[in-house]
């Protein structure tokens, strides 16, 4: 089995060398003796085809086409969480946030396997797939995203998510939520349950509330949005609150932790939730964003700690617990970097550079990362927060004076420009990750 994979990898490598020899040559100069003995520059398996995994696969090949890269991702089409709120708001169709793997396969020579990675054997350096295949790796990159802690919130399990969608992994769940919003009668209430930190995409719930309010303002003018939050503070709070007031008046109500906003029980069948101090709220459409943890394959690989997330070495994003496994994206403990697609994309490049260097006997270059989170409050009202990060004293730290937040009192045309930048950002990062833009 592994022999078969190996041979296929080699022949693709030869093919690539043939067409790209000139550009590849300088990179091949420093190949480590062990890699030559192996007949390739090393085998890297990447699990997960989102912002992190797809970028890692591509940038590994860009760094050294002689590395055999296999990307494992069950879905043939990936729907991005970024901009899925715009689909809910009626600003985009679902196809516009769908991306595939043609560029990785055809242009970069990544072997793309559409199967689920079921288990990792860290000692044997093997990954077992649901299709029966076993992959052998020198380095493994996990970009597993998040999984939900079903029942951590009483009454919210997989069956409940069919009735009260989370839509926190984009695709079918997002469509379901959109369908419910469209079917809701005017005058109804959209109730969103927002989780405590840490969770995927800190500003996401508040952008979603904005987009649903926008949809209501266009189609269901007597409908309301209620956010029940397990936190007292949230991302870009001042900017969101001001934007809501400016565009939607009192259509959006936010209840924080101190106002008894933490939901402790969900009754999905009756679209009802109960808070910690016994207040019951009835929804016409109920969106529960449940507590989260690293995607399950991280647990199988033994890289998660008791928080359910993955501690990593700051310089290389290699697991602190298991050798030769690098983990990127939402699954990691990378704070102060947020759990965002942009961060996953950046972390992937750092990991690709580190692995390419180390496989050829060089040491990993010194990394830095950037992040920008755009959020749309309305179609022509965008806000953002940006940051630059470096390793300081062994941990990731925000570079002092870098980045920042949209101004609090900006005129409308600045908000409109930021809404345009948001679209530019989306197209650019999708182009960078999957080679597709809309």
């Amino acid at each position: 089995m592994s022999h078969n994979i190996h041979r296929r990898g080699v022949s693709r490598r030869r093919f690539l060398q043939g067409i790209g020899a000139a550009s590849a040559l300088p990179l091949l100069g420093g190949i480590a003796p062990f890699a030559i003995a192996n007949g390739s520059a090393g085998r890297v398996v990447v699990i997960g085809g989102g912002f992190g995994g797809a970028t890692a696969a591509k940038y590994l090949k860009r760094a050294n086409p002689a590395i055999e890269v296999t990307l494992v991702e069950p879905a043939e089409v990936f729907y991005t969480c970024p901009f899925s709120n715009l689909f809910l708001g009626g600003l985009r169709d679902l196809r516009s946030i769908a991306h595939g793997y043609d560029e990785l396969r055809d242009r970069y020579g990544v072997r793309v396997v559409h199967s689920l990675a079921e288990d990792v054997d860290p000692d044997g350096h093997r990954v077992r797939l649901a299709n029966g295949e076993t992959l052998v790796y020198d380095r493994l990159v996990l970009s597993p995203g998040i999984d939900f802690r079903w029942n951590a919130l009483e009454g919210y399990d997989e069956a409940a998510a069919e009735l009260a969608p989370h839509a926190w992994k984009a695709g079918a769940q997002t469509e379901r939520l959109k369908g419910q919003l469209e079917a809701m009668e005017d005058g109804g209430t959209f109730v969103m349950v927002a989780p405590e930190n840490p969770f995927r995409c800190p500003p996401g719930p508040y952008e979603r509330a904005s987009m649903v309010a926008h949809y209501f303002s266009q189609h269901k003018p007597n409908s309301k949005v209620l956010i029940l939050d397990a936190k007292d503070n949230f991302s870009k709070q001042g900017l969101f609150t001001a934007g809501w007031e400016r565009l939607y008046g009192d259509r959006i109500e936010w209840v924080g932790l101190s106002g008894d906003g933490r939901v402790t029980r969900v009754d999905a069948e009756n679209l009802e939730v109960e808070t910690e101090f016994g207040t019951r709220h009835r929804a016409d459409v109920l969106n529960v964003i449940p507590p989260q943890k690293a995607g399950f394959i991280a647990e199988r690989a033994g890289v998660t700690d008791d928080s359910g997330w993955v501690p990593v070495k700051a310089e290389t994003f290699e697991s602190r617990q298991v050798r030769d496994i690098h983990v990127i994206g939402d699954a990691t403990v990378a704070a102060p970097m947020p759990k965002s697609g942009f961060c996953a994309n950046n972390q992937a490049k750092v990991v690709a550079a580190a692995i390419a260097a180390e496989l050829s006997g060089r040491s990993a270059p010194e990394p830095y990362w950037t992040n920008t989170c755009y959020s749309l409050i309305g179609p022509e009202y965008g806000i953002s927060v940006a940051g630059v990060y470096r390793v300081q004293e062994g941990v990731i730290a925000e570079v002092e004076g870098s980045g920042g937040l949209s101004p609090a009192d900006a005129p409308d045309h600045v908000r409109a420009l930021e809404a345009e930048y948001a679209v530019g950002w989306y197209n650019a990062i999708c182009q960078d990750t999957w080679g597709t833009s809309v």
């Binding site: 930190n197 840490p198 001042g238 609150t241 932790l257 403990v333 970097m337 947020p338 927060v385």
Partner: protein
């Protein structure tokens, strides 16, 4: 960056302490390392321990390894060692070693406070060690410590928070019924800025300290659970604790702040 000589001196000192305790302790290095706990460098801990060496098993602190919001870090402390017949855990004290005032809170538990398991939310100024020290009614002591890293996530920048109205909206979650001797979980929440006295207002003036200092729960007039709170407790203090009443009880919850104001909540619980 400490001077290399200082580092060497420090490590020699550690080595000596380690070796010294190892000779005394049959458990060897691990207990020596634990006995050299961070509470030894905390003045307040000395007053509480009164020369005793605290047991390092039995008391557990739960905090996230990394917290993205130092203004409200969830903290739980739990005691699950067994004590001598007739003894009970009477005090739990929490300290944030890296805060300007390390005291977080002190809890006083009567036998009717049931299960010694308490949760709250605390302010942590920076990455640091949080310490818990507990005493039983008869003077047995326990200690534990936990490291917490505080970062502010790039996507988590907050807006201007308007201070909540002091002592507004007291909330209590208490079951209506309990089985005799079985602890029930109680949760309380109240609005209060818990102003530290260290913060500057918009005009650059120091905002005066204004905190809830004491929270008391009585069962039929007898104190069952009290908490002395300090500046390191988060705004809008939240407490989760336990009661195990032995008979039907009128339960009175009272919050007192340092301006002399207070809030009350009354409830009853029937015991079968």
């Amino acid at each position: 960056m400490p001077h290399p000589l200082l580092l060497r001196a420090l490590s020699r000192r550690r080595l000596l302490i380690g070796a010294g305790l190892m000779a005394l302790s049959p458990l060897g290095l691990s207990s020596a390392a634990l006995a050299d706990g961070p509470w030894q460098r905390l003045d307040a801990a000395g007053d509480l321990l009164r020369g005793t060496t605290p047991a390092t098993e039995g008391l557990a602190l739960e905090l996230p390894h990394v917290s993205e919001d130092g203004s409200a870090v969830p903290l739980s402390v739990r005691f699950d060692a067994s004590l001598a017949e007739g003894d009970h855990l009477a005090e739990i004290h929490l300290f944030a070693t890296g805060n300007p005032y390390p005291e977080i809170a002190s809890f006083h538990l009567s036998p009717e406070a049931g299960l010694p398991e308490i949760s709250t939310r605390v302010r942590l100024n920076e990455s640091q060690q949080v310490i818990a020290i507990a005493r039983s009614h008869r003077g047995e002591t326990f200690a534990t410590a936990r490291d917490v890293r505080i970062t502010v996530s790039g996507c988590l920048m907050r807006g201007d928070d308007q201070g909540p109205e002091p002592l507004a909206n007291p909330r209590v979650s208490l079951p209506e019924r309990a089985a005799a001797g079985e602890p029930v979980e109680v949760r309380t929440l109240i609005s209060h800025p818990m102003e530290t006295g260290l913060r500057e207002g918009a005009g650059g003036e120091t905002l005066p300290r204004h905190i809830i200092e004491r929270f008391t729960v009585t069962l039929n007039g007898e104190a069952a659970f009290t908490a002395d709170l300090h500046q390191s407790v988060s705004a809008n203090p939240y407490l989760r604790f336990h009661l195990s009443p032995t008979e039907d009880a009128e339960v009175v919850f009272e919050w007192q702040d340092d301006s002399g104001e207070s809030a009350r909540h009354e409830a009853s619980i029937s015991v079968s």
